[in-house]
């Protein structure tokens, strides 16, 4: 049971954490802070927070846990604003998709009397905003926590408790490993989806082509719907890992292209290989089927 949890940024993830905490009656107070017009009101209406605050100092005063759920680059500014406001003993965490950069900012800006650990729940939807919040979003999902040699155990413990309450499964890993792995299974798929939609959408016959697009296109293009500010910040803060994966992806596509123009029937081996990889992945993740 938490006393006072403050969520800064009430989008899909922040809102869903609030809903899950309140549904579990696991916090005496869930305070929300969001600079978006009317966002706090909507969060309170759907029950994602117990009270809203329009003042950052009020919002975090005496908080047991402060969860930053904003786009990555906003977190740098927030750390600087929060530094003089945080109560000693408060644990601070975030839910962003790049971790090494955020840990660097935390070490640079946060005072020593607060404990920080980075976190990243592996869950999302293509739609964003508090209206899309869902108390069950994290159920059975992996919740990455990326401690460093300097992380205080209390921070790991509080975030692990949070993850447990919202139904997720904790995975402790190194921030650089996290960033490289998430570049592969989240950031690269997003860029692949964006490029796909822009490629087919910019053809002169797109208005006719669009009529034929069905469930295959729907699924392949879904990630392109994601929050653009969030993904811009991810690209600007996890650049090396994403570039590395993107280069490999382009090389793989060029290799498929070579087989295609040569009418090489052994292209089927690549199809079988991807089928096998995906099926093995599905075996690991029966909760997602």
């Amino acid at each position: 049971m938490f006393q006072r949890v403050t969520i800064i940024g009430l989008g899909l993830i922040g809102g869903s954490i609030g809903l899950a905490l309140r549904k579990a009656e696991a916090a005496r107070e869930v305070v929300g802070y969001d600079m978006g017009k009317g966002v706090c009101d909507r969060a309170r209406q759907i029950g994602a927070i117990s009270q809203a605050s329009t003042d950052l100092a009020d919002a975090v005063r005496n908080a047991e846990l402060v969860i930053l759920a904003t786009p990555v680059r906003t977190i740098s500014h927030l750390f600087q604003q929060l530094a003089p406001l945080l109560t000693p003993g408060t644990v601070v965490t975030d839910v962003a998709s790049t971790k090494a950069q955020i840990i660097g900012w935390a070490e640079e800006f946060l005072p020593h009397h607060v404990a920080f650990v980075g976190g990243h729940p592996m869950a999302g939807k293509e739609i964003s905003g508090v209206e899309a919040a869902d108390a069950t979003l994290f159920y059975k999902r992996i919740y990455c926590v990326t401690p460093t040699a300097h992380t205080q155990p209390v921070a790991i413990q509080k975030v692990s408790t949070l993850a447990e309450i919202i139904g997720a499964r904790i995975r402790l890993l190194d921030a650089h490993d996290h960033d490289r792995q998430v570049a592969a299974i989240s950031h690269l798929p997003f860029l692949a989806s964006v490029a796909l939609v822009n490629t087919v959408g910019s053809e002169p016959d797109w208005s006719d082509t669009a009529i034929l697009a069905s469930t295959g296109f729907r699924d392949a293009s879904r990630l392109a719907e994601g929050n653009s500010v969030m993904y811009r910040d991810i690209c600007l803060t996890n650049t090396d890992a994403i570039t590395h994966r993107l280069d490999e992806y382009i090389a793989e596509l060029n290799s498929l292209r070579d087989q295609l123009v040569e009418h090489d029937p052994t292209i089927i081996e690549k199809f079988l290989q991807s089928q096998q990889t995906r099926r093995q992945w599905q075996e690991m993740h029966k909760e997602l089927s």
Copy 2:
């Protein structure tokens, strides 16, 4: 109401057409033919056909409509086998994803006393086989029909009736336009998905990375599960259109890569562009949401 409909190839599409026809009680007989071990038995068990035939001549004798629902390249052989067996007046159609090549084979191999028109229902699933068949698969989906200057009206009429019975919406278009458009919204997305899975799956840390992969990866990789023989044949018969789209896709990815390495925040414009394109597409296809 059809008298005798013969479906050759009882996979996902052939099986689903059979189920839909029989559910609508729209054919006196639905005869099934499939060379796969036990496939006809399973098709009969689930009600996709009223009777099975192990002899191609028996299967198509006196058929009003013969539907070829096999991988693309098999259709070339089937046309040659069927040519001496088809009863005058029978309408022949197919459901494959490339049309120009199939029309060429039909003109080369089929006798003049049967009427052929190419068709392609825009529906599918990542799982294949008659076990995945679904009577509602085509409901509200587009059913492409690609007549030529030589197509007999009776063929268009019979296939339009079929489409109507199974709940689909007919769209008449030129075979080359079809092939170019389907390369964009079906064949390219498949290759993009295969390359994505193979790129991330071949990394040495894939077994760790796979643990983090969640719904985003699930959707982006779904098409890679598709029937490999079917997609191999598509690649071998719609090569030019797919290569053209793939080249554009690789160029688009390289352009994203340039912005990425330059830490260019205006990369967000590409994200917003794809979001807008996808939302416009969704407005057109409310039945898929």
